[in-house]
């Protein structure tokens, strides 16, 4: 059997056998990335919306910076968060390094700008559409932000899914701040990196296929929810 068919049959065995260890790792990945995306949503979407609606000096620079952050290497985020959380760093007293919380923080830093950048574009387009209407109603800008966030909720799902995709698939940041500790901070991606470095390439690919399956299921769920919601409000 060649490496690929071996990997695929191993992936099915992992999925079918419901390997307890794999389930644990998938669970941690979902928890960490899910929370990071939740925090990213709470921070990134309002931030993006403010940038989309606001008109102030330096806004263009902020937009460029934000779009640039979409390409931020996860390793850089990992190192920066590591230095912050390290015992010798400014937040060292919290003792958060090598914990799932640290991984959530790092991934939040990673996905919030991405989600904000996508939200900014979405909200700005919608704002152009409603601007006259809102101005005549003399809506305060903060109300405009709130209303547009609500109005674009279906399109903003794309921002959330992009954040989730980036969080679930990144390895650099969680590896550095989580430490890839067995049964504590090992996620799908760090497990894949570990199996690759142990030379067990079929298992690495199999885990990759499991990760892909998980991401596909999440995207499918999101699509179903979106369609249900769209039917509600045309």
């Amino acid at each position: 059997m060649n490496a690929f068919s071996l990997a695929i049959s191993e992936a099915f065995a992992l999925l079918a056998g419901f390997d307890h260890r794999v389930a644990e790792i998938v669970g941690l990945s979902l928890q960490v990335s899910g929370l990071a995306v939740l925090l990213g949503t709470l921070i990134g979407l309002p931030l993006g919306a403010c940038l989309g609606v606001g008109r102030f000096r330096g806004r263009q620079l902020l937009v460029i910076a934000l779009n640039g952050c979409m390409g931020l290497p996860s390793v850089v985020v990992g190192v920066v968060v590591y230095l912050l959380l390290s015992r010798s760093g400014p937040l060292g007293d919290l003792g958060l390094l090598y914990s799932p919380t640290a991984m959530v923080l790092a991934q939040t830093v990673l996905v919030a700008p991405l989600m904000a950048a996508i939200a900014r574009q979405t909200i700005e387009d919608a704002w152009h559409d409603y601007e006259e209407e809102f101005r005549v109603l003399r809506l305060r800008w903060i109300d405009s932000v709130r209303v547009l966030l609500h109005d674009c909720r279906h399109s903003l799902l794309v921002a959330v899914l992009a954040g989730l995709g980036r969080a679930m698939s990144e390895v650099g940041a969680v590896m550095i701040v989580g430490g890839n500790i067995d049964r504590s901070t090992r996620t799908m991606t760090t497990a894949i990196a570990l199996e690759t470095s142990k030379g067990d390439l079929p298992l690495a690919v199999a885990l990759g296929l499991v990760l892909l399956a998980v991401i596909l299921v999440l995207n499918g769920l999101a699509l179903v929810v979106r369609q249900w919601a769209m039917r509600r409000y045309a």
Partner: protein, 243 residues
């Protein structure tokens, strides 16, 4: 009508607005007293929409003055319904509540007021439906409700019945009359001359960015003073390209 600042008589003097080297408003003068329905007539490109947009504060006049009852433009009390009103992806009621956000009411009161006005435009049954699922006529009534709910003293309507069927037009006209009865000053544009005779107290005829004629409705249609108005009423005025 909580705003105590005076609004009428509204005096527009020598209003100018230019786009792309073409004068849209070319020294326009207009006086509006505090009551009734005034209908703006005039060919496309005459400057009607720009005038409405200037009055509601979307456009700053490039020259000229607008005197609101002896003072500046009041903070509130002017509402506008666009020809193509944008509706949020929200319920019918939610779209009306949008207009009440600046008033900072409690959610319950906001809802109550929105439902009350929806009742008056005949959309109470559809309050919970999606605004984007409404028909053209219903949509326009919703737009009127959204403007009405703020209890404006001046309501600007930009062709509120364009491309609606006759029964929808009739419903809109009844609502406009009702709003007027409650003391709101109405300034609206239309190309429907029948509608003008049915609704207007007076008519303002604009051509080439100036007011050619401002007269009570019967006199305007019986004895138009200007040649342009006469041709327009007879449907023979050559329409200028908008841009």
């Amino acid at each position: 009508m909580s705003d105590a600042a005076p609004m009428f008589p509204l005096r527009v003097r020598d209003l100018r607005w230019e786009a792309g080297g073409r004068a849209i408003l070319d020294g326009l003068d207009l006086d509006l007293a505090g009551e009734g329905i005034t209908i703006l007539l005039g060919p496309n490109g005459a400057g009607k929409s720009v005038l409405l947009r200037t009055l509601c504060g979307l456009l700053e006049p490039q020259a000229g003055t607008i005197d609101w009852g002896g003072g500046r433009r009041p903070e509130s009390g002017v509402a506008m319904v666009f020809q193509h009103a944008r509706m949020l992806r929200d319920s019918v009621c939610g779209n009306v509540e949008l207009a009440l956000l600046p008033a900072r009411l409690a959610a319950g009161e906001r809802r109550e007021r929105a439902l009350a006005v929806l009742e008056r435009v005949g959309l109470a049954q559809r309050a919970a439906d999606s605004a984007r699922a409404l028909s053209g006529g219903e949509r326009q009534r919703l737009a009127l409700a959204r403007a009405w709910v703020t209890q404006p003293r001046l309501l600007l309507l930009d062709e509120p019945t364009a491309s609606l069927d006759p029964s929808s037009v009739d419903r809109i006209e009844r609502i406009v009359r009702e709003i007027r009865t409650e003391g709101t000053r109405i300034l609206m544009t239309t190309h429907n001359l029948g509608q003008a005779t049915r609704l207007a107290d007076d008519v303002v005829f604009i051509d080439a960015g100036r007011v050619c004629e401002h007269a009570p409705v019967q006199r305007f249609f019986a004895r138009p003073a200007s040649q342009a108005a006469r041709l327009y009423i007879q449907g023979e005025l050559p329409w200028r390209m908008a841009f």
